[in-house]
Symmetry: C2
Subunit: 323 residues, 2 copies
């Protein structure tokens, strides 16, 4: 019985599966496995049972489906349609590797993506709505049999400007929103991140996660704030998928522990940072799909170490000038 | 005896005293008290006995000397020369308040600043060489009767490019260098901050502090790294002096505690961040010159709170997927 329960899908992700062609200061690669749902599901598979909902074309390689399955990812929701898979190509700036320019986007079979959840997925306690059209995000949420324990959402500037009202409708109904600094400033029209987070929480979500790349992550939950450091990385090879890998670690940890209080959210944020740090260390998901739990734990401990300083105990005071 | 010792100068700062005219997105102010030595000495005065070495003109207001003295700052080294005080005017970007453009610089009496330390200052155990010509920094250090316990240095892009060799000569002789992200990338020609810090440590200093404004501070000390969060601030009014106020808290704390190990350096970094956070909350040094030790302690505790997460204990492991 316990064994059978343990096989149930705890997290469902709805997003993209793609082939990416990427140029970074380190080099160029074509036809890399990519897409938000791919990175998210691989990352969260280290912690929990995840089901992927995405669409690919007939060109999608068998070995990539096998890769997902060897990570224990449920691929029933990965629809294979006649046509080509979503293809994206982009170039990362040599001056600031966090800045990228899209060269080409071919939506292909993704252009009429219309996700249908199977009955098991509709009971999933955790749902991650990756960066897709907010109307699709709403549609997916409405398919759930009962309100999941936690619904998290990612979005991007394109939807913030082109589908602002739809985005606000889905924001009303979810728990956690994950954004980068630029996106939350765009959405809230607030430069100050604390005010921006407050603004977004007023739209619905109780938790706001602001991803700042090499500058770490800010977590806002009601009146509480947590600032997570980033892991010092010797060399960022390819930032693609870092945000979705973060989300995979974040949601995966929460689904595994069911600790949805502030302490749990803080650890989930740190684990998200750990998973993001693996994602940037190779082109495509090569690195993040070949790590071990020992690797993950080691980086979690490093983040504890580099952010710890001795707090003041209750009676202690800051040394005072003798004047 | 103890009382008389306590009055000795523990920290000497050599830098600028100025009148600033500043435009920020919040408003404009003219003839604000400013300069690196001013911000540094006010900030460090909350922790220790500081002596200021700087030059001003006859126009320097009596009330500003009184302000320093009421903070217990030793002003014997504040030379008053015929002529006008150093004046700087600049404008901070409305899009990114951390970006500033200099409108006008009138060095006035500062143009032939030639600091001479009095006998007491030459025995000071802590020396802060604020952002001035690296040849002057070397000259000041050579005036010390014995090598201070700690010599810290700030610099800027201008000296990195125009006096690179002089800067490298003084870097060989000091312990701590404080820089912002752009400056250390400039000096090291390394985009990666961990590598940049390593590069600079190879030039001499055992400790490198990288100030990242709203993104917090990185401390490198040998092989050890510490990542300090920044305090969430509702509104940055004027960033001028934040870096020097950081340095004042950092060095002031170390001088007060004499705890120069990594734990002490980490707390000093946090306290530096606290002092920087006060500096940006008013035009000029109004706010940082009117705080209490209770205010400082409160913010230190906030930084402990927002950066703390439960570490893994030795036996604990990250929750593992049940697959």
């Amino acid at each position: 019985m316990i064994h059978s329960q343990s096989q149930e899908t705890s997290v469902v992700v709805v997003g993209s599966a793609a082939y990416d062609s990427i140029a970074t200061p380190i080099g160029n690669k074509t036809d890399l496995l990519g897409g938000s749902a791919i990175y998210f599901s691989i990352s969260s598979s280290y912690f929990t049972h995840v089901g992927i909902v995405a669409v690919v074309g007939k060109d999608f390689l068998k070995k990539h489906i096998t890769l997902l399955q060897t990570h224990g990812i449920n691929t029933e929701g990965l629809e294979i349609k006649t046509g080509k898979s979503f293809r994206w190509s982009g170039v990362y700036s040599t001056e600031d590797i966090n800045t990228r320019t899209t060269l080409e986007t071919n939506l292909n079979v993704f252009s009429d993506f219309s996700p249908i959840l199977n009955p098991e997925y509709r009971n999933s306690p955790f749902l991650f709505l990756a960066n897709i059209d907010p109307d699709l995000q709403s549609n997916v949420l409405s398919q759930m049999k009962k309100r999941p324990k936690m619904v998290a959402l990612d979005t991007m500037n394109y939807w913030i400007s082109s589908k602002n009202q739809s985005l606000k409708r889905i924001l009303e109904k979810i728990d956690v929103v994950l954004m980068d600094e630029g996106e939350i400033r765009d959405l809230s029209k607030e430069a100050n991140l604390t005010k921006a987070a407050q603004h977004v929480m007023n739209l619905g979500p109780s938790t706001v996660v602001i991803k700042r790349g090499e500058h770490g992550v800010l977590l806002f939950h009601g009146k509480s704030i947590f600032s997570a450091p980033s892991l010092p990385i010797d060399q960022v090879i390819d930032p693609t998928g870092a945000g979705d890998s973060f989300a995979g670690g974040f949601i995966g940890y929460l689904a595994a522990t069911k600790d949805l209080g502030f302490d749990g959210l803080k650890r989930a944020t740190v684990l998200g940072s750990v998973m993001g740090s693996f994602a940037v260390e190779s082109f495509g998901p090569d690195k993040i799909s070949t790590i071990t739990h020992v690797d993950i734990e080691k980086r979690f401990r490093i983040l504890s170490d580099i952010s710890y300083f001795e707090p003041l105990n209750e009676k202690e005071s800051i040394p005072i000038s003798l004047s």
